[in-house]
Subunit: 589 residues, 2 copies
């Protein structure tokens, strides 16, 4: 080894020992010929002092050092005088008094310093990703990602799951929009497809009797980049046999506790709360509620049907809903301008035509429209909303769908804006009993809410033909801090039931055979009851690290620019290669 | 859970308890209306006895069961009478007396039985992979693969390595023959490339200061399938900073012990032996010697220069070598016909013109050509070869290269044929000090033996210009049972040295920039000394499971036939998809 110590481990107890450390020059100070270096490696930083005879080779070499040079230093570990102790550094009680210095590699002047406070824009940092990755934030993110992955693996290993690799080069299906296609040199004119998920493979593994499977699997989607999306992403993929929904949720509860426990001090209290889809839509307007703060939606439709406020009246008359939020103690927080512009703008984005607001004061409602409500109506609203003096009441009157979307967005904004929660908190819940299908108005048919392999709640079989919208799937989402952090279902294992669902979704036998033939065939030869789930690893690292940008939790993210080193956009290839693949590029002018 | 016990766990100590088990009907016997089922799951098999009133529903249902039906049985765990104990089954001391039976899924009659002795050909088994995967051999292979992977992960985690994911969608380089190319929908007319290895990414991670990296990485090569090769394969990929070659070998020694220990009783004795490339070529004729048996090659060139046997004489005169093997106790093992046909055929395949053979008897050589050797020449040969009476001596007289290849192949054949080792034994060794370059006669230039990033042995710098063939790389192969089980090197971290190597390999600056630009740029900004290695996971599972067919250690291997379920060859895609990708398939008639 070129070192016997790292830059992160030296403490007062090491004083008097000799050390050889290696790393990057992180800081550099020359005080009247005495050189101080902060030497950095993955494990920390250590102050090195060069205080040798002025003309010495080592001292001269030390004076030539610059940021990001890679060096090896041998010296004595010395305690710092009390007034020189640096409490901000783990190694702040000591310094190394250098005896020898070897420059392992000089660095060109870096375009930015990875320890600097004034970071350049992300474009430059992505171009020099190898320097950006030296920053503490990214070093921590990768270390955290490792620890979380390792916790996942240990948890599943301890619970008898097998890590089984499924193919990256899979079969293309004609309908696979958003599949990346890969032409094969060996099989002329034919293509593989990169998987959007190992869904069908893991179901086959259950049919094959592997009983408990997991994989940290790479998945692909040929779509535009977004702040929270990459064309390749990583999924913790799970499937179990001979289980029901409760077994699955309980198993994943344990996983969540293990993941959080791997990087956080706090413990997660189990079981995670479970809500039905109907419940969260009613109470929070979304199937991804952020429950770090409460603030439920209250329905007042019945209370305002008779009021004299036209907007409410008409909405109720047209079968719409009047629902609202009670913002505790916020009666005077927002000016009329903010209410009429900013907050109204948020609900307008989701199609709401207006935002009605009141203050609760003296046991009544105050507002320019309060006069349209009788005293008893006001009382009833205040009671329904659990409002107290000083609260702000906000209402959207619209269709069920619009009121859900608008109020959910407004609720999220208020939680963030009013700092109603600790942003580092992790809050998880299950949403279960999703509807099996939703009506596709454009194509006049039922679409699967998750995918066509979800089994249905046995109680709802009777509605499969009479009223499909009432049928609940045995599917479940894990929601964390307002994001979908996992999604899964108990699968159909009976080919006859599968056929029923295909019929409902108007998938013809030919289409089913073409798209899912291998799974359907497998189901005919003894498929066990089974179910599974997939967790987005990138999202989990973002949640646990507290980062908003997906590029901060992936070592080499894709970017839009072909010029970015390594991580850039795809690039042209030459004629010879295309000829060998029997492919021609054909871009319309 | 649909069960409270698995089919593998019940023992005598459970007798009297109630059990609910689930699984597949593995065996079925109807003895005068009493039905016996062997029920199978991943964990084992349990005998279930249905001995209920003849007309009962359960009994009737039991009599309708057939192979591979999936059932749930509840019953009492009962000890078998002593004469009915089945010592071949782990659960052979008990049986479950069924009280209830639920058929979870009927199976169509399977095309073959996964527990059968008469397996059909591999073609049919691959077509019905989901049934083949139920076979004990494949269940064991996947479980072993899991245990080995988990051991790798635990080992590296304990040694401070970070598991960092590198991209699957990478940059294409114009020279990347055998790269799979992936057209992008979003970036019209541009392509990603799938990585043949994460080599450059892991070097960048070292430049970025991650210090210790590992990944179990999927890699891709667009080549024909072979029995030991798949277009996608899995590599245990490792890189470390601030280390020299000894540090690397020591770290991987520990990994090998952990991998073997995860699935075998025996322990590996460390350190693994280390040989130089020159040594193994001299002694075994190959850089991948199988050292489960000894039988070294002995050189007798100097001893036979003066003999009267024309073939040896001429070889020596032309600068060739006479080398041979001493096969202990095999003087009478092979007939003249086998020696002259089979064994000679093996060396002929590698270009050797003949195979000379002798028996050692009475302290002398016996053979049709023995008369051409004086008594003292015979004595000297016997001594050099450590031959004793009853040994068979085999010689190849040819160029150095041909004698190496021919004798290595012959040695492997003899070891196998004479059963000189236990085929289950695992024997590992390091080969170090590979030559940096080999002369490419066709193109009249030096080629890199490994890749152009290998650093060189500091002692050999002086030969870099004067005699490149003498320069030893700091590269190392781990050889196991005659296979390359890992390969790596200490890398160049100095851009100036890297330039020297490119010059030697006649890689122009433009070409270097195009192919490796991002790495070269990174090396200029403070790259630490670093090195790494990659282990073929598929090969390791084959070695440790004792399987010869790579398709037996991969759940969903690729095959040549497009008709195979899931695992088949790539397939055509439709016009619309190609249009969206802006590519045209263009196969010449």
């Amino acid at each position: 080894m070129l070192r016997n110590r790292t830059c992160g481990e030296l403490r007062k107890s090491h004083v008097g020992e000799a050390a050889t450390i290696c790393g990057w020059v992180d800081k550099y100070r020359d005080h009247a010929g005495i050189v101080f270096i902060d030497l950095r490696d993955r494990y920390g930083r250590t102050q090195v002092k060069f205080n040798l005879a002025d003309g010495s080779d080592v001292q001269q070499l030390a004076r030539s050092l610059r940021y990001e040079d890679v060096i090896q230093v041998t010296g004595e570990i010395v305690g710092r005088p009390d007034d020189m102790v640096n409490p901000k550094m783990d190694t702040g009680e000591i310094e190394v008094h250098a005896k020898t210095l070897t420059v392992l590699n000089k660095s060109k002047t870096p375009p930015f310093e990875p320890n600097g406070d004034n970071l350049p824009n992300e474009e430059l940092r992505l171009k020099y990703r190898f320097i950006d990755l030296r920053r503490n934030e990214l070093q921590q993110a990768m270390a955290m990602r490792h620890r979380i992955s390792q916790a996942v693996r240990t948890y599943f290993d301890e619970n008898g799951f097998l890590d089984i690799e499924t193919p990256i080069l899979g079969r293309s299906t004609p309908e696979g929009a958003r599949d990346y296609l890969v032409p094969s040199r060996v099989h002329e004119g034919n293509f593989y497809a990169l998987p959007q998920s190992p869904q069908l493979f893991k179901q086959i593994l259950m049919v094959s009797g592997f009983d408990r499977y997991y994989q940290i699997a790479r998945c692909f989607r040929d779509e535009d980049l977004r702040a929270d999306r990459q064309p390749e992403f990583t999924q913790v993929d799970v499937e179990m046999s001979f289980v029901d929904q409760d077994d699955m949720l309980e198993m994943i509860d344990g996983l969540v506790a293990a993941m959080v426990g791997s990087v956080r001090e706090e413990t997660v209290s189990l079981p995670l709360p479970r809500y039905t889809h109907a419940e969260v839509m009613e109470k929070y307007g979304t199937d991804k509620p952020d429950l770090r703060f409460e603030m439920p939606i209250h329905e007042v439709t019945d209370l305002v049907a008779e009021c004299e406020f036209g907007v409410f009246q008409n909405t109720v008359a047209n079968g719409g809903r009047v629902r609202g939020l009670c913002v505790k103690g916020a009666a005077d927080t927002y000016s009329r301008r903010i209410l009429d512009n900013d907050l109204k703008g948020i609900v307008a984005e989701y199609g709401a035509k207006g935002l009605a607001y009141f203050k609760a004061a003296g046991g009544k409602l105050e507002s320019s429209i309060a006069k349209f409500f009788s005293e008893s109506q006001q009382q009833a609203i205040i009671e329904r909303m659990h409002a107290e003096d000083g609260d702000l009441l906000l209402f959207v009157a619209d269709t069920w769908k619009v009121s859900c979307a608008a109020l959910a967005a407004l609720r999220n904004h208020l939680g963030r804006d009013l700092k109603l929660y600790d942003p580092r908190e992790i809050n998880c819940l299950w949403v279960v009993d999703f509807p099996l299908v939703t009506w596709n108005e454009d194509e006049q048919r039922w679409d699967a809410e998750h995918h066509p392999f979800c089994s249905i709640n046995p109680e709802d079989v009777e509605y499969l033909e009479s009223d499909p919208s009432r049928v609940r799937a045995q599917s479940y989402d894990l929601v964390c801090n307002g994001y979908e952090a996992a999604s899964g279902s108990i699968r159909i294992h009976d080919p006859a039931v599968q056929q029923q669902i295909f019929d409902l979704l108007k998938i013809t036998p030919e289409e089913a055979e073409r798209r899912f033939g291998f799974l359907l065939e497998a189901l005919r030869y003894g498929a066990p009851p089974h179910g599974g789930i997939a967790l987005g690893l990138d999202r989990w690292v973002m949640l646990l690290a507290g980062y908003d940008n997906i590029r901060d939790v992936i070592a080499f993210p894709k970017t839009q620019r072909a010029s970015d080193l390594l991580t850039g956009a795809p690039s042209p290839v030459d004629e010879r290669q295309l000829r060998e693949l029997h492919v021609k590029v054909d871009i319309p002018e």
